[in-house]
């Protein structure tokens, strides 16, 4: 049994060592994604160009402007004399956020019945819009005063990421996205490729058992996955100063569990498709919802219930929770038992389905 698993693993390693494309993807995909998500896609909203119309000109209004400036979210340009001027500057694209402090600012602040400050937002930039709405939404300023507006609004995400840098949030979860992508792609082709090239007909006339074949094929990728995890952590620490607050052992255990789940998903795809192209397409179909719904990009809490249920089926969802817990909050694996269990359930179910689908037959 071990003999046969070793035979398959050694064969895969020989083949891998000659497959430059796959080899390139093992290193290339993590690096590319790191740079892409770490630098290019910047969810940190910092230094948005903005301007103020301060019709109140009180010490309170000046304090508010000072606070806005200090937050770093808005980079205030020269103040505007009037609201129409503010709109014009927004139309030309000079500013993306406009802050209007009405003449009766002080009275509004005390009376709690109307908003004390009006925000004008350039809705064509999705991130600006999101951040500005966040600025405005929590809590209604007229009710709790300007101090509250500032602290509450920006406190939302500061607990484990005091500087609110995207990279700190993104990089750990990126481990999941990268593994999800590479592991599923690699193994989704695993059986199909042999079928396409005709090796399958020979393979199934050998005494290798189905599960031995599966395990033998997956083993090299488990190591590759752990290697990629290491790569992302090192680059993350080096380029983006992402700290690892939890234990490395827990982190690797969680990663190994997720790798196994992703590999099994790939295998399942491999057993239900007939060509490598189909396998690749199906792998891609599972990837997109994983990335969008896992909480990697969009906060999980904002999703409709049905979508949240769908997200529960995706292994990436649970891994993103686990890895953020371990890396950012310093949580231990046993604090994340529920997520680990859900990953485990996925793994077992996918494996069972794969075994059910896989036959040592040609028909």
């Amino acid at each position: 049994m071990l003999n046969r698993i070793a035979a398959v693993t050694i064969k895969e390693l020989h083949q891998l060592s000659r497959d430059r494309l796959t080899f390139g993807m093992i290193i290339g995909i993590p690096l590319m994604q790191m740079l892409l998500f770490g630098y290019a896609i910047n969810f940190d909203v910092r230094g948005l160009p903005g301007a103020v119309v301060d019709a109140a000109q009180t010490s309170g209004s000046r304090a508010l402007i000072g606070d806005l400036q200090a937050s770093g979210v808005v980079r205030l340009l020269a103040p505007s004399p009037s609201v129409p001027d503010l709109r014009r500057r927004m139309d030309t694209g000079e500013i993306q956020i406009g802050v209007v402090i009405p003449a009766d600012f002080e009275r509004r602040r005390l009376q709690h019945d109307r908003a004390a400050v009006q925000l004008l937002v350039d809705g064509s930039e999705p991130m600006t819009d999101m951040v500005a709405r966040a600025l405005a939404a929590t809590p209604p300023p007229a009710r709790q005063g300007m101090q509250a507006l500032r602290t509450e609004t920006f406190a939302v995400r500061t607990a484990y990421n005091p500087e609110r840098r995207t990279a700190v949030q993104i990089v750990p979860a990126l481990i999941g996205v990268i593994l999800n992508m590479t592991m599923v792609i690699f193994t989704s082709a695993a059986i199909v490729r042999e079928r396409e090239r005709g090796n399958f007909e020979l393979l199934i006339t050998t005494p290798v058992r189905s599960w031995e074949l599966m395990v033998g094929k997956l083993l090299p990728y488990v190591f590759i996955g752990l290697l990629q995890t290491t790569l992302v952590l090192i680059v993350g620490a080096w380029l983006f100063d992402v700290p690892i607050n939890g234990s490395l052992g827990d982190l690797y255990l969680a990663a190994a569990l997720f790798i196994a789940a992703a590999l099994t998903l790939g295998l399942l795809i491999s057993t239900i498709t007939r060509t490598q192209f189909q396998a690749f397409q199906l792998a891609f179909v599972t990837m997109l919802p994983s990335i969008l719904l896992s909480g990697f990009v969009f906060p999980f809490d904002g999703m409709p219930t049905a979508v949240r249920w769908l997200a529960q089926v995706l292994p990436l969802t649970h891994f993103v929770e686990m890895i953020r817990g371990i890396v950012l909050r310093g949580a231990a694996l046993h604090d994340l038992g529920w997520q680990a269990a859900k990953l485990g359930i996925f793994l077992v179910a996918a494996l069972a389905l794969t075994m059910l689908r896989f036959r040592k037959r040609l028909d």
């Binding site: 003999n3 046969r4 070793a6 035979a7 398959v8 050694i10 064969k11 020989h14 083949q15 000659r18 497959d19 090239r197 005709g198 090796n199 399958f200 007909e201 020979l202 199934i204 006339t205 050998t206 005494p207 290798v208 058992r209 040592k360 037959r361 040609l362 028909d363």
Partner: protein, 317 residues
């Protein structure tokens, strides 16, 4: 070793949708012989072999291989069967040695046995000079030797070879057949499919397949003796004219060209078949030498497959 037949098939049938690839085939293949499946492309040879090694489930019918029912016992039989696929199915991106090592490991050879057996096969199939070459770079003959080495590595009792020589030069084919006879003397039973007449003639027993039907079975010499036709050989400069002169005669079942000669298969009930044809040729003014000859396997094949033109005639047997 048991003396029961190596393979017994009864009513073996396999459909693919509306295509009946193998249609109620009955077979009994004795041990330690070379048994051939002869048939044109699409006659069901590969499908039959795949059912024999448990890769395809028969639509109906029964197969026993080495006293085990297929495909039920297929997994238990793996170590006793060797299978060489029609298309090269070892790994192109592995070297010759790596391919053999994989097969040896998967068949449970320990490291010392493995080394010894691979050295033996390397010698036997002359793989030494290409040992570290990747399979993709091998010639047709080299690939075939590697495939045979891989199929026989675990010393199977029954070897199934699906058109092993179709992509191979004549010298390699001769060497290949030498290897097969050597294996048979060592006690192996071999089933080989082919569409080459000369190869079919080397087999101890032969089954002729046509569109899924088993249309003739027996030893090649037996089949030649029992051919249900008189074979008349016509040697003429104007083969086209000769052909035209004989076509349409009710006694002439088929005409096939072999170089400058024609072989006419004539209804066995015809008295003095040669004289009849000679007369027809003279009438048409075609100068020709005409004589009755011993049938070739090609003639047997033509006769067995319904004389080509008479597609509706029931298969003899």
């Amino acid at each position: 070793m048991s003396t029961a037949p190596a393979i017994v098939a009864q009513g073996l049938t396999r459909r693919f949708g509306s295509v009946v690839a193998v249609d109620h085939v009955d077979l009994t293949i004795p041990r330690t012989q070379i048994y051939g499946f002869l048939g044109p492309n699409g006659s069901g040879k590969s499908t039959a072999i795949r059912m024999l090694c448990g890769l395809l489930v028969p639509t109906s019918g029964q197969v026993d291989v080495l006293d085990h029912q297929m495909p039920r016992d297929a997994e238990r039989m793996r170590a006793k069967l060797g299978y060489m696929t029609q298309k090269f199915s070892l790994w192109d991106d592995l070297t010759v040695i790596e391919n053999l090592q994989f097969m040896a490991r998967i068949f449970g050879f320990g490291s010392r046995e493995r080394t010894a057996r691979i050295a033996e096969l390397t010698r036997e199939y002359d793989l030494g000079s290409i040992a570290t070459q990747r399979a993709v770079t091998l010639s047709g003959g080299q690939k075939q030797r590697l495939a045979l080495a891989a199929a026989t590595l675990h010393r199977p009792e029954l070897l199934l070879l699906d058109e092993p020589t179709s992509a191979v030069d004549p010298q390699s084919r001769r060497d290949f057949w030498e290897s097969l006879f050597r294996l048979v003397t060592q006690g192996t039973t071999i089933l080989v499919s082919t569409h080459f007449m000369d190869e079919a003639e080397r087999c101890h027993g032969l089954a002729i397949l046509d569109r899924g039907h088993l249309v003739a079975e027996g030893a090649p010499q037996q089949l030649i003796r029992d051919i249900p036709a008189i074979v008349v050989e016509i040697e003429a400069a104007d083969t086209v004219g000769a052909r035209r002169a004989l076509d349409g005669d009710p006694a002439v079942l088929s005409i096939a060209q072999l170089g400058t000669r024609l072989h006419a298969l004539v209804d066995p009930a015809t008295p003095t078949a040669d004289a009849r044809l000679r007369g027809l040729l003279e009438q048409a003014g075609v100068a020709a030498q005409v004589e009755i000859v011993r049938a070739s396997l090609e003639d047997v094949f033509v006769a067995a497959t319904g004389f080509r033109t008479a597609a509706t005639s029931p298969p003899p047997q």
